[in-house]
């Protein structure tokens, strides 16, 4: 059993500040849509870096904050406790109830990284660490108090000695320095005897106090020693911290320089860099060691302060550490669970390109350096061949087997590749086994495999085929072979698959994804509507910049439920498939071509036609914008097509109406033959909906709206085309029925239909 990737969160990676947790589609195919430069590829690269642990300066954001990438995985109930040895009863209980596990990879300034378990498991481990930390803090405070007391006693002792000397000196001014020294030796006791009575009394009090202080200090000797060691460790830690601060600044400077230069550099050739890196790593290790020594020493001092012997304290310290500290840290568990992480691979375009020819020997010996090795290996995997197949002694039987295999492979490939060259001329993939002739002196007689991509007209080497065919073949073989070989789950990251493919072939890419999704999880980016399955909108994550006009702004990811707030450009692939201007709805010679201001209006008019059941012969042609309508009129006129322009009451269309009347239509033309102008209260198509229907069926919100719907859309900068295409989708799929619209909307719809009917 392995873990299945179900969500991710990427922080501080290229344009991404924080994606928040983003769930992947539960059916194993997730599609990232968005404009160029929105950050889609960064998400794929982020996930790849989570797996490999490697990053370079170019992924750093301008503030040089280091990346942090988390992945959440689904696991079976009880699996975590099964793979965690001796977790302890509390941790075991937690692990056995968890069905997800979170791993987070953090990078350090030297670009090394740690992988830790995060989420609920780390919260539990942290709570244990916190308990240990609280205990240590308590002991530390007590120890510092003790050290303070010992220091106070020591200075009092110095004070007593000096007071005693003072008394002697004052009574025997001539005694001199040497006398004071002798004062503290028993043999010099006579000096005290000669003191006046009050001084003698004072002196004896000091002697008694001195004895008491000395006795107390002697009792605290071990604690005093512990205090000294504590001081030394503290100084060591401070010094290491200071050094690490310096080194981190140096590393940051270096990253900054590299980011600005925007060029990779071989860091191993830079001795200064190597030295800084080495120092940083050594100091980090030293710090970890000092920290751990300090913890043990504080605990040890605690027991000393309780009056235990050093040996006893040592033993109790070890026991306490076992008790308070879990045997596992977040890092240890992170490393452990990461072993079960699916392989996260980036699909390499043309990485599996079939060679024209490859020596069998190179395949058998696994010579990865030879051109096309990977593709040939994938090919043999697909053909379910191992190398013993070629040891068949009879060349006739071998040739027959190869012939059969070629047929099977072609049939399988054609299941996915629908395109034909000409009418029924589908391409076939083939391989042949042959031997070098005597012309190849060093290889003469050695076997090689030769590959062909055939159609009935031509037999060409793979490299002679079009870019699209080569890409698809490479893609097909790589994915199918990976799925067949995989013993461990795999997440395949595919950046813009099939750019060079025809629309139908792009749909074939989706078929390959569907075919392997049970064995390989796919996350891909696309701009193409043909690579988005409209019936599986849950697969979509929309990626866009926070500020659409600023490429330096951060990347935002919107899940399927929040797509309505995505920008129109981000949603282009969706708009193109939801109520798409179908091929049958293009320019028509038999119908009236009704030009409307944009795709949003196209969707709404299509919706009105559906709701009212209008049967007029009309083909709706969306312009890209009001300003393009004159151009479209010119085209229609040039082609001699019957057309009309539908104009709403907004200022731009009112001006256009004037323009068209003055410039476009010939004198004598009745502009009524070309123009359908709505009542001025309909500023745009969406104003044909009552406010209530606009809220309920388009916006799906409940706030009060007191301006025309079109004005509201503009003010709020809503993705008009997307929202109206969603409405059309809802109406077409019966989620919204004609009876769901209110009387006012129906009245407006009837009004428009009458306008269209009246147009001859």
């Amino acid at each position: 059993m392995y873990m299945k990737l179900c969500a991710f969160r990427i922080r501080n990676f290229r344009s991404i500040t924080d994606t928040g947790w983003q769930n992947l589609s539960p059916d194993n195919i997730t599609c990232l849509i968005g404009q160029n430069e929105s950050g889609k590829t960064s998400i794929l690269e982020g996930l790849r870096s989570f797996y490999t642990g490697s990053i370079s300066e170019d992924v750093l954001r301008s503030d040089l904050t280091l990346p942090e990438i988390s992945c959440r995985f689904n696991v079976n109930n009880g699996w975590l406790s099964d793979v965690t040895e001796n977790p302890g009863s509390e941790l075991k209980e937690l692990l056995s109830e968890l069905t997800t596990v979170e791993l987070t990879r953090n990078w350090l300034p030297d670009f090394s990284s740690t992988i830790k378990v995060s989420g609920r498991i780390s919260e539990y481990l942290d709570s244990l660490e916190n308990a240990w930390g609280l205990y240590l803090n308590e002991v530390k405070a007590k120890l510092e108090k003790e050290i303070e007391e010992i220091n106070r006693l020591k200075s009092r002792l110095d004070e007593i000695m000096s007071l005693k000397a003072d008394i002697i000196m004052r009574a025997n001014p001539a005694a001199g320095k040497g006398m004071v020294g002798r004062l503290f030796r028993k043999s010099e006791g006579g000096l005290v005897e000669r003191l006046p009575a009050d001084q003698k009394h004072k002196f004896n009090d000091l002697v008694k106090e001195e004895e008491s202080v000395r006795k107390t200090l002697a009792g605290k000797k071990e604690i005093a020693d512990a205090g000294l060691k504590y001081g030394a460790l503290l100084a060591g830690l401070e010094e290491t911290d200071r050094k690490l601060d310096d080194l981190e600044s140096k590393l940051e400077e270096y990253h900054q320089k590299m980011t600005l230069l925007l060029m990779p550099m071989d860091k191993t050739e830079d001795p200064e860099w190597t030295k800084v890196l080495e120092d940083f790593r050594n100091n980090r290790m030293a710090k970890e060691k000092l920290k751990s020594d300090m913890e043990a020493h504080i605990a040890f001092s605690g027991y000393l302060m309780e009056g235990r012997s050093p040996e006893e304290s040592q033993m109790l310290t070890l026991e306490a550490m076992r008790r308070y500290k879990s045997q596992y840290t977040s890092e240890m568990l992170g490393r452990k669970y990461f072993e079960y992480c699916p392989d996260i691979e980036m699909f390499e375009d043309f990485g599996s390109l079939l060679p024209n020819r490859i020596d069998l020997e190179d395949i058998i010996t696994g010579n990865e350096n030879v051109e096309g090795y990977k593709a040939a290996r994938n090919f043999l995997t697909l053909a379910k061949l191992d190398y013993s197949f070629f040891q068949q002694p009879s060349s006739r039987i071998l040739k027959q087997k190869i012939e059969n295999l070629n047929n099977t492979l072609t049939v399988n490939f054609q299941d996915f590749w629908q395109q034909s060259i000409g009418r029924n001329n589908k391409i076939k993939i083939q391989f042949e086994l042959d031997h070098y002739s005597l012309n190849y002196s060093d290889k003469a007689g050695k076997p090689y495999l030769e590959f062909w991509v055939k159609d009935s007209g031509e037999r060409l080497y793979p490299k002679q085929r079009s870019r699209g065919v080569r890409w698809f073949l490479s893609f097909y073989m790589e994915l199918k072979a990976s799925a067949m070989r995989s013993t461990k789950p795999m997440v395949l990251l595919v950046d813009e698959p099939g750019i060079s493919l025809h629309a139908r072939a792009q749909e074939d890419v989706l078929k390959v994804f569907e075919d392997i999704k049970d064995r390989i999880q796919i996350i891909y980016t696309t701009h193409s509507p043909h690579l988005v399955d409209v019936n599986k909108m849950h697969r979509i994550l929309a990626v866009q910049r926070d500020d659409l006009d600023n490429l330096k702004s951060t990347t935002r990811v919107l899940d399927p439920l929040k797509l309505a707030s995505a920008s129109p450009d981000t949603l282009t692939p969706l708009q193109n498939i939801m109520g798409n201007p179908l091929p049958s709805e293009g320019f028509s010679a038999n119908r009236l071509n009704l030009i409307v201001n944009d795709t949003g209006t196209f969707y709404l008019i299509s919706c009105i036609i559906q709701v009212t059941g209008f049967k007029g012969k009309i083909s709706i042609i969306p312009s890209t914008d009001v300003s393009s309508i004159p151009l479209m009129c010119n085209i229609m006129m040039g082609w001699g097509l019957k057309f009309a322009v539908l104009l709403f009451g907004n200022e731009r269309e009112r001006k256009l109406e004037e323009y068209l009347k003055e410039n476009m239509f010939r004198p004598g033309d009745k502009e009524g033959d070309y123009l359908i102008v709505t009542d001025p209260r309909f500023l745009n198509a969406e104003d044909l909906l009552s406010t209530l229907d606009f809220k309920n069926h388009v916006l799906k919100t409940r706030e009060g709206i007191t301006v025309p719907n079109s004005v509201y859309m503009e003010e709020k900068e809503l993705p008009r085309s997307f929202l109206l295409s969603r409405l059309l989708g809802d109406v077409r799929q019966g989620r919204i029925e004609p009876g769901d619209f209110d009387e006012e909307t129906h009245e407006n719809f009837r009004y428009l239909v009458e306008l269209l009917k009246g147009f001859k």
Binding site: R681, L692, R702, I705, T706, E744
Partner: protein, 272 residues
């Protein structure tokens, strides 16, 4: 010491009374403003042939309000009842009146239900009602009629408040939509338009729920709608609308007796 404390109490009482007086006079002034926002006798008699307004606020200011508007094509009358009474109700009633004014003056193609739909949008926006937890739950119940001056056709739309028509002594009640002008519990729906062909002499009554909800001294029970209709039917037998008002007013006070008034009372009666 004792003297000082008495002095302080007296001063405090004096200050309290003064504050109360100030509140009262400002409320009275607010009441005057509220009245001024509603159509005066001159306006109403210019719009309607014969009418009466029985308006008995429970407090100085009221949550009930009436409205009338006319242009060359139609006349519009309405009686509203805002949630609560006193100051909160009055504030909402002022919003209601100004929204009605704004809608009536801007709309060309007038429909009673459309006016209520538009009014609801304005109230929801003003009170930040979005269906989320934030925002108030306040709302306005209202009955609104629009009469075409050309055809005599009446449109009625109601938000929780009905319209009563008495023709030849027979009472017909037009039921309202059971929705208020404000956030609905689940989802807002469009108000329904009722078209009523009118005849000369037809009498119409719009009213708040203050009268039927009033507790009577003798029974200690609410009057209820059924009895209120009987009173209306009886009143309608009086030809002059001002006589009907006097009858209804007397009936109210008679029913109420010494019981306190529970809510604002408004009846807007008019004859076509």
């Amino acid at each position: 010491m004792h003297g000082e404390s008495t002095y302080q109490s007296e001063m405090l009482a004096k200050a309290g009374l003064q504050a109360f007086d100030e509140h009262l006079s400002s409320l009275r002034y607010a009441g005057m403003i509220q009245h001024a926002l509603m159509p005066d006798e001159e306006t109403l008699s210019g719009i309607l042939k014969d009418y009466f307004i029985l308006f008995l606020p429970r407090d100085i200011v009221s949550g009930d309000f009436y409205y009338a508007f006319s242009n060359r094509e139609y006349l519009c009358v309405a009686a509203g009842d805002c949630t609560g009474h006193g100051v909160p109700g009055a504030l909402l009633s002022i919003l209601g009146i100004s929204f009605l004014n704004e809608i009536m003056q801007s709309e060309k193609c007038m429909k009673a239900n459309r006016v209520l739909n538009m009014m609801r949008e304005r109230v929801m926006k003003a009170l930040h009602q979005t269906g989320e937890k934030s925002g108030t739950k306040d709302s306005i119940d209202i009955a609104l009629c629009i009469v075409s001056l050309k055809t005599g056709e009446m449109q009625y739309a109601g938000a929780n408040r009905p319209l009563v028509m008495i023709r030849n002594g027979e009472l017909t009640e037009y039921k309202p939509d059971l929705m208020t002008i404000g956030l609905a519990p689940v989802e807002e729906r469009a108000f329904k338009n009722n078209y009523i062909g009118t005849r000369p002499g037809d009498m119409f009554y719009l009213f708040s729920d203050g009268f039927p909800d009033q507790f009577g001294e003798e029974s200690n029970k609410k009057l209820k709608n059924k009895n209120f209709r009987k009173i209306l039917e009886t009143a309608s037998s009086l030809t002059m609308m001002k006589d009907q008002k006097a009858f209804l007013e007397n009936s109210f006070f008679e029913w109420r007796g010494k019981m306190p008034q529970v809510d604002d009372v408004l009846i807007f009666g008019f004859k076509l």
